[in-house]
């Protein structure tokens, strides 16, 4: 019997569960390799050759090349891993959030200083559907 995923109706949220961990394995292992300077140097010298070392899917590879931060998560990436690719590019966690939310850095930073994104209206997918967000 399938496990019940009672967290799938949370809007704008991809829970990194065992299925996502399986799908994203090689993508995440690529990302975490960039924790080390030697690997960052090799990646930055020749992205294509470095990516050849990791048997990720063509879609995952393209999302890396495109730095498509949300797509990386949709394809099994996890933020603690993809943030290493961000760090390699000089992008902080908070700047990544500005990109993933589509708000941009300044608006996102201001939202956080003003107390963050409120839970009201952001708990269930139907609340976003009603607002026309996805």
């Amino acid at each position: 019997m399938a496990l019940k995923k009672d967290y799938e109706d949370i809007p704008g949220t991809l829970v990194f569960d065992a299925d996502r961990g399986r799908e994203g394995y090689h993508l995440n292992q690529f990302c975490i390799s960039l924790r080390l300077q030697g690997n960052r140097d090799a990646f930055n010298a020749d992205e294509g050759a470095y990516l050849d070392r990791y048997p990720m899917t063509a879609e995952q590879r393209q999302a890396v090349v495109d730095r498509d931060w949300n797509r990386l998560l949709e394809l099994g990436g996890n933020i603690y891993y993809t943030s290493k690719l961000g760090a390699n590019d000089g992008i902080t966690f908070q700047q990544l959030a500005g990109l993933m939310t589509g708000m941009g850095n300044e608006a996102y930073r201001k939202m956080m200083v003003d107390g963050g994104r409120p839970p009201d209206g952001n708990r269930y997918q139907h609340e976003w559907d009603d607002k026309g967000e996805n």
Binding site: G12, T13, L14, F16, N78, T92, T101, M112, R117, P119
Partner: protein, 289 residues
């Protein structure tokens, strides 16, 4: 015998470590975050723990996707701060009470909590940021004022261990500590949280009301609080808010009745609500002032 005297709950936001390491703590953005730890630093000087038992999560630093233990106990002699992609934090090497750690490992496993034993391990911001918050600025040539036994909990890949499991692990840690012969004072830290979501389109979620009830119930209803289902953390406190299960390990290791000594809450540190609490066992009035 060794005794657990108090518990500390504390966020471990990496940007807090960066702010300390770059000398930014007096800047208007950071000052209110750090102000709430001034009392804590005085308190822990008086509490004088010999050992800190520090519950945290590794952020894919030691355990990448290839290896994900639910519970891993640090049994090495020492733990160097890790390079997380921007160089190791300039803080002291963390030294273990290695004899006590191996005693705890053996006790926990016989108590049916199956630990992964780490005889080599670096430690990331999850461990060093709470130490910095509680003990202040210390450089690479300094020493932390106590020994540290690290316990890593998987909260990165869902599911984290349940709150109930964590609470009961806290009780087993207490039994392990109290069966250790040396006369030692132990303070247990539960770290991570509070509400935050770092990823995808809902990033930036903060839920002060939910965080507040969480801290309230650590004293008034710890057992009930430990029954909180994972989906409630994810929905109410954000996808990374599930780190708060680690606070239940800290709480489970304390007496049923505790006194809240200090509390601090601040939004934001980068993407996160910073929460901090000190709970003291009542048989240690010197600690609970």
């Amino acid at each position: 015998m060794a005794r657990i005297t108090a518990g500390v709950g504390c966020s471990h936001v990496p940007a807090i470590g960066v702010a300390m390491d770059l000398g930014k703590t007096d800047e208007p953005y950071w000052a209110p975050c750090f102000a709430g730890f001034e009392k804590s630093r005085e308190w822990i000087k008086d509490a004088r723990p010999d050992v800190v038992f520090l519950v945290y999560n590794d952020h894919c630093t030691v355990f990448d996707a290839s290896f994900i233990p639910t519970f891993a106990l640090g049994c090495a002699a020492e733990f160097a701060p890790a390079d997380e992609g921007w160089g190791p934090r300039p803080v002291p090497v963390v030294r273990n009470h290695q004899v006590m750690a191996s005693h705890v490992a053996q006790s926990l496993i016989l108590d049916e909590f199956d630990m992964t034993i780490m005889n080599e391990m670096e430690v990331d911001h999850g461990l060093t940021v709470p130490l910095s918050l509680m003990f202040g600025d210390l450089g690479v040539d300094d020493e932390w004022p106590c020994l540290v036994i690290p316990l890593c909990v998987n909260v990165v890949q869902y599911p984290a261990p349940t709150g109930n499991r964590c609470y009961n692990l806290g009780k087993a840690i207490r039994r392990a500590v109290e069966s250790f012969d040396e006369d030692l004072k132990v303070v247990i830290f539960g770290t991570g949280g509070m509400s935050h979501q770092l990823q995808y389109k809902r990033a930036g979620l903060i839920n002060k009301e939910w965080d507040t009830q969480f801290m309230d119930r650590l004293t008034s209803d710890p057992v009930g609080l430990s029954q909180t289902p994972h989906v409630e953390y994810l929905r109410e406190a954000g996808s990374e808010g599930v780190e708060l299960v680690m606070w239940h390990i800290m709480r489970g290791a304390l007496d049923d009745e505790v006194d809240e000594v200090h509390r601090h809450y601040h939004v934001p540190a980068s993407n996160t609500a910073v929460g901090h609490i000190i709970l003291a066992n009542r048989e240690y009035p010197g600690v609970a002032k």
